[in-house]
């Protein structure tokens, strides 16, 4: 940090990264104080797509809020669906049929694969490699087609219902999911050959943007960012929910804490997601997909409920306070990338601009979810 201390007395300039900038993937603005190409200070400025989702939650019935959950993180929307139905079911004490739980896991994990694929493409695009983006989109397209066939939408899913699902899947979906996993298994080695083993990429990511486990804890970073810093924490395993305990999967953890570690965590997670989907498809029981005794008008008993799920970008926590009426009294959404972005200011000090942008890309930001 000697360079940095010296630069305090030197001439610096402010570089406005965003709100419209190719590297921010949305309307995020980062106010950078630069000394040449070195970042002296970085300050994320939020709120350009603030839509008051939490306040909206207080003005809508419990069921009406469902579509909102899909519009937070539009790349991994099903996890957010899941988080919301889970906390309401917990409040209401609704039992979910097993088939529905399995299908929830299958669709959420497929969605996670789609999200990581998109991140992979966008991240390499940040690093200047254009081609992997289109390879990843090619595969992501298959996931979206699959999910479209059961949920009816391709991005902002609203598939889960309190006590189950909107509709059952057919054999086409099961066969299609298996075919897709077979296809992706064949394609992943290509991804690694094209990108992971590339010397330029390794030089750009290795030992760059190192986040200590300490810093991750300080800012509450979760998900692949946390696991890339050597903390073995995954809500799916540490606070098991749904049918995850019955499925055999590993939680990839890399201790280096650099951008490469976060990259590897996500690439390994794609493989684990495929394992989960395969097992869940094998174990998929017959039966109904929606619980029978779900009241038409939900009025959870008064109380304070919290529940968390592992979304593609980290822990999505949702806290609801019910006063026993048909609208929530308070709804608090804890979105993972908000915390993940918070550490950017401290972590990027003294970094070169391209490295800082590589770090930002490796955090996997989705701006509407940060602003909510």
């Amino acid at each position: 940090m000697n360079d940095l201390a010296r630069s305090q007395n030197q001439e610096t300039f402010v570089l406005n990264l965003g709100p419209q900038h190719p590297a921010t993937h949305g309307v995020l603005r980062v106010k950078l104080t630069m000394d040449g190409e070195y970042v002296v200070h970085a300050e994320p400025v939020l709120g350009y797509v603030h839509r008051m989702h939490e306040k909206m939650g207080e003005n809508r019935t419990w069921a009406q809020f469902m579509p909102n959950t899909a519009r937070l993180d539009y790349l991994g929307a099903l996890s957010y669906n899941h988080g919301y139905v889970k906390v309401v079911e917990q409040a209401m004490g609704i039992e979910v049929p097993e088939r529905a739980e399995y299908l929830r896991v299958i669709t959420v994990e497929l969605n996670r694969i789609a999200s990581h694929l998109l991140w992979y493409g966008a991240f390499v695009l940040d690093l200047g490699g254009f081609t992997p983006l289109l390879y990843a989109f090619d595969d992501r397209e298959h996931v979206l087609d699959l999910l479209e066939s059961v949920t009816g939408s391709r991005l902002t899913f609203c598939y889960f219902r309190f006590g189950g699902l909107y509709n059952d899947v057919d054999d086409n979906f099961v066969g299609g999911a298996r075919a897709f996993i077979k296809r992706l298994r064949r394609r992943l080695p290509d991804y690694h050959n094209l990108v992971t083993k590339n010397i330029i990429l390794i030089k750009r990511l290795k030992d760059v943007g190192v986040l200590s486990a300490e810093m991750c804890r300080k800012y509450g970073a979760t998900g692949p960012v946390l696991r890339g810093s050597g903390v073995d924490y995954d809500v799916r395993r540490n606070e098991p929910y749904s049918v995850y305990p019955e499925l055999d999967f590993e939680v990839p953890v890399y201790g280096e804490g650099d951008s490469m570690a976060r990259y590897m965590v996500r690439m390994d997670e794609i493989e684990q997601c495929m394992r989960i989907v395969e097992q869940a498809l094998d174990k998929l029981p017959e039966g109904p997909v929606v619980a029978e005794k779900v009241p038409k008008i939900l009025k959870p008993p008064p109380g304070d409920y919290y529940s968390a799920v592992e979304a593609a970008r980290g822990t999505f926590g949702i806290r609801i306070v019910s006063d026993g009426t048909n609208t929530p009294y308070r709804m608090k959404l804890r979105s993972p990338t908000f915390s993940n972005l918070s550490l950017f200011g401290e972590a990027s000090r003294g970094m070169l601009l391209p490295d800082a942008l590589a770090l930002m890309g490796s955090l996997d930001l989705v701006i509407p979810e940060i602003d909510r």
């Binding site: 300039f13 570089l15 900038h21 190719p22 590297a23 190409e37 390499v124 695009l125 940040d126 690093l127 200047g128 490699g129 254009f130 081609t131 289109l134 390879y135 090619d138 094209l194 990108v195 590339n198 330029i200 990429l201 030089k203 750009r204 070169l352 601009l353 391209p354 490295d355 942008l357």
Partner: protein, 333 residues
Amino acid sequence: MILSEPWRLLVFVAGIIAFIALNAAYLVWLERKVAGHIQRRIGPKEVGPFGLLQPLADGIKLMSKQLLVPKGVDPLLFKVAPLLVLVPAVMSFVTIPFSEKLVARNIDIGLLMIFAFASVNVMGLLLGGWGSNNKYAVISAARAVSQNVAYEIPMLITVVTMIMLTHTMNLNEIVIQQAGGVWNWHIFANPLMPIAFLIFFICSLAETNRAPFDLGEAESELIAGFHTEYSGMGFGVFFMGEYANIIIGCGLATILFLGGWQCPFGILPGWWWFLAKVYFLIFCVMWIRWTYPRTTLWGLLNLSWKILIPFSLLILLLTGAMIKVWPLITGAS
């Protein structure tokens, strides 16, 4: 048919400018097609057959756009910069032999002249970035300059090696020396030459700001780099200059190492072979661009100062030894 002097010159000027303009237009088309096929899509296909009229449509669009000069820029530098990129490129074509007879001016110091003009090119980028009064453009200009300075050195050392080998700076003369089959090309002159070719090719990638060395216009960092503020033909001229420089880089590589217009099989005219080799190299340039991610400035400078310059110096030394010392040892005169 041999034209008399002033007419010959005019024909060549018109020819070179037409060649550059056509190439700039159709290399963009080619680049988009190559990128498309590398990325498992088709590329332009709507305008005309195979999208062949796309460059025309783009050209009309660029020319009909307002040449916007934003507030706060240095108007003179801002307007001059694109020309400073294009004009040296046009000038460099003067000495490039397309075939034995098809060369505008067969100058004895042709190689030197091309490198002299290539250095002016950097000024264009610098002034464009500086005159734009845009922070991204200034960062980009600073990057472009340090990159060009760093890569001119190994490139020139390689060229000096070639001059030692060929004893001439006349480009046509260099090509004539490589007559008679593939094995007489300078790339096979001695075991070091393939490495020299590689160094030259990497340097020409960096000189022309092409990926993976496109730090000057790193779009995910600097929006569009030094031409962020340019619109219409201001941007178009930068673009033409960039593609003209690529042609010159690949053309020089062809002339110095791959036998220029010499045909290996004795069929088809010389200019055909020259263009075929140049376009093959250009295809490789595009192939590299759509495969690799971008390096950082540090990585780039490290590659130049720690790898390319020592290696090119070593090649220079060994080639010198081969030329001067080897005959002494073997006793050949």
